[in-house]
Symmetry: C2
Subunit: 416 residues, 2 copies
């Protein structure tokens, strides 16, 4: 099995200015190609340190994939240092220069002279065209070691990897890794792990628990000579997990709870509406993240004040006054209002204290009421995250609202 | 200056199942402490490979900070391997076991037996209490080398770093790094870099350009004996950059465009409303990301169908029919509708084709109309990202809408 390392180059990564999403993307795609990632590293835009790391990586791995540092500015040195490492010279590649020029022409922007640097390439490399930017990627080889260079911006790196780098790398794939994630909602990682403790000791497929965004997942990963074989190893284990986690299981490889909800609504030909206070549009945003959401979603209201809750959603002013905006009756009326004005089949509402501070009522930060309304009636679920973390609370409240909608559609009782 | 490495442990990182946000957080905080991060690495939950990496890191660095692999399950081995590396034994730490037990008690959940493992600690370590989970962190030292262990979940790692690890690390700070980011909107990285080309060659402070989320930024970083000195090095350079980028500059260290907009609205005591189609609540979500947004935001409507655009926002059915939902008149009427029903001082709207596919009209994916309305009138800005990337298009359209609101408040003309 070919062994690979991922190196991210950029002082902005070492200083913590940006999150390194490239490594995650590359790692996940390489796993799919059956290429084992031994290590991920990040170094600054520093010639000496990058040369050292290249030397170490070439000792361990057949393939080194670097991202970042292909930009036009003087601190972008990845290509130059990698060519120095392999003893290759850079020369102007006219067709690439033409492409860069026409890229700027298409955007009606003059090309900055420094962009010429991006058309300097080693003579015998394989060029990876950049469909979303100016810096081409490339692959070069020496003594059986391969170096691939990709641009840092994710929207340039991702299509370039899929279109050019993955086909280049297919020569290294002899084994295939297939990996599935079993998603759950409403159970902690430890409790989930105990329910499947014996499966965690399996060798092929492996079963690994982890927590992500407030949810517990199990990753089932098989290694085999073909996709078919790998799938056959995974299937019975996934079925076993589904049975053991029945109450909490919501999907395999379904990405996230919003994807599961949109798929379920499509399947049932139903529409959903949202009425949000503390989540401020996050539920609507997550539903509409999913391509084709317009089939299942027409209408969302962000009612961030009492007045708007009353005026647009028809929430009783008396209820707002008596119980406060963060209350069971208001959550119920928000959901009912959204159902009424949207004409949807189901509506969810959220009203809560996202934090970091409480409102004037001194209700606890993390308290949230979730309403679900459809023609059969309205239910309100109360949760309390117990945390003061605004981002976390908004995410978890939105997730719980989506899950509550899912359970209502499936006619299951919600879990607090 | 003390030199540090960050090691992330977890097969889920090497397989690309999760994005490594811990490294970014740690790197940014270490920079603030004046500790230089030489390298970031990620390895799997693998004893041999982790031992090798620890050996390499200890050659180069004084401090090794590891995150991940402190969980209760059998694949969590970071603590065990680090103790092996330092030749230290683990023993049950009763006060920690009591804390873990009371953590579960507080959540009304029985403690799983496997959680006992998390109370096994080396005798002479410094314990970092975990206020958001069960696994304590720790620091241990041998022959002048320090190993710090932190849990993987960001919401456990972040507070633990700030409360316990940062104070522990303060002994290594002799110099201070101060770093400021100068944010721009509407200019590309290359063009921005050309405007400040001479500044990019400075040594202290350094000025580095980069692109992030469709925006170009400049990072100004100074190293000095005290915060004051470092700030004095940065200040004139930042002023110079602001002057050169005047049209595009929107703030220093202001985080992002929504933070700038919320701050501006607060300063002017104004309220904003939103009417969103293709961004599906993303603008409202981004505004309400900012704590205290309720001072400036009451009302957002996600009108994802023509019917809801008409019914809730009062968009003319004739306009929808004649020009289609993705059109200048509809964007204008959406903004005017939001202004009217919300009673806000300014309203923004977005209607466009997020992709990946077009709608029935075959308008190009990436086309978007942004409306801005206030009592002085309504303007519509047309943009076309030229990309088929749904997430990118939604992000950029939302950003442009926020920037259009900002420019209107400042009485500047919008830039397409």
């Amino acid at each position: 099995m070919a062994v690979c390392e991922i190196i991210s180059v950029g002082t902005e990564i070492l200083l913590g200015d940006i999150v390194n999403t490239d490594s995650q993307f590359l790692a996940s795609r390489l796993a799919g190609l059956g290429i084992s990632v031994l290590r991920q590293s990040a170094v600054g835009d520093n010639r000496g340190r990058l040369l050292t790391l290249l030397g170490e990586a070439a000792q361990r791995s057949d393939i080194i994939i670097l991202s970042g540092g292909l930009g036009p500015t003087s601190d972008d040195i990845t290509k130059e240092v990698c060519c120095e490492f392999f003893g290759k010279e850079l020369e102007l590649h006219e067709p690439t220069l033409e492409k860069i020029k026409s890229y700027f022409k298409g955007k009606n922007v003059p090309m900055a002279e420094i962009n010429t640097k991006q058309a300097m390439l080693p003579r015998d490399c394989v060029i990876f065209p950049n469909s979303n930017g100016t810096a081409p990627g490339l692959a070069m080889e020496k003594d059986g070691k391969h170096i691939l260079l990709l641009p840092g911006p994710p929207r340039e790196l991702k299509p370039m990897f899929l279109e050019s780098a993955a086909p280049y790398l297919s020569r290294f794939s002899d084994k295939v890794i297939i990996s599935h994630s079993v998603r759950t909602f409403g159970i902690g990682e430890s409790s989930m792990a105990e329910k499947v403790a014996d499966l965690l000791d399996m060798e092929n497929p492996t079963v690994a628990p982890y927590a992500k965004d407030g949810e517990a997942l199990l990753r089932v990963t098989a290694l085999a000579g073909s996709e078919d074989e790998a799938e056959k190893l995974c299937a019975p284990v996934i079925t076993e997990i589904e049975q053991r986690l029945s109450d909490y299981f919501y999907g395999v490889d379904c990405g996230c709870i919003e994807e599961a909800v949109v798929a379920l609504l499509k399947e049932r030909r139903m529409k959903i509406a949202t009425a949000e206070s503390c989540t401020g549009g996050f539920i609507a945003k997550r539903i509409t993240n999913i391509p084709g959401a317009s089939e299942v979603f027409d209408c969302g209201v962000v009612s961030y004040s009492n007045e708007i809750k009353h005026k647009i959603l028809g929430v009783d002013s008396a209820a707002l006054e008596e119980y406060g905006a963060v209350s069971e009756p208001v959550a119920a009326q928000m959901a009912e209002g959204a159902l009424r004005i949207s004409g949807a089949d189901i509506a969810v509402s959220v009203t809560g204290i996202a934090g970091p501070d409480s409102d004037s009522t001194n209700k606890p930060v993390g308290l949230c009421f979730i309403g679900v309304a459809d023609k059969t009636g309205t239910e309100v679920l109360q949760i309390n995250t117990g945390r003061r973390d605004r981002d976390y609370n908004r995410y978890v409240c939105a997730s719980n609202a989506l899950n509550a909608a899912r359970l209502r559609i499936l006619k299951k009782a919600p879990k607090g």
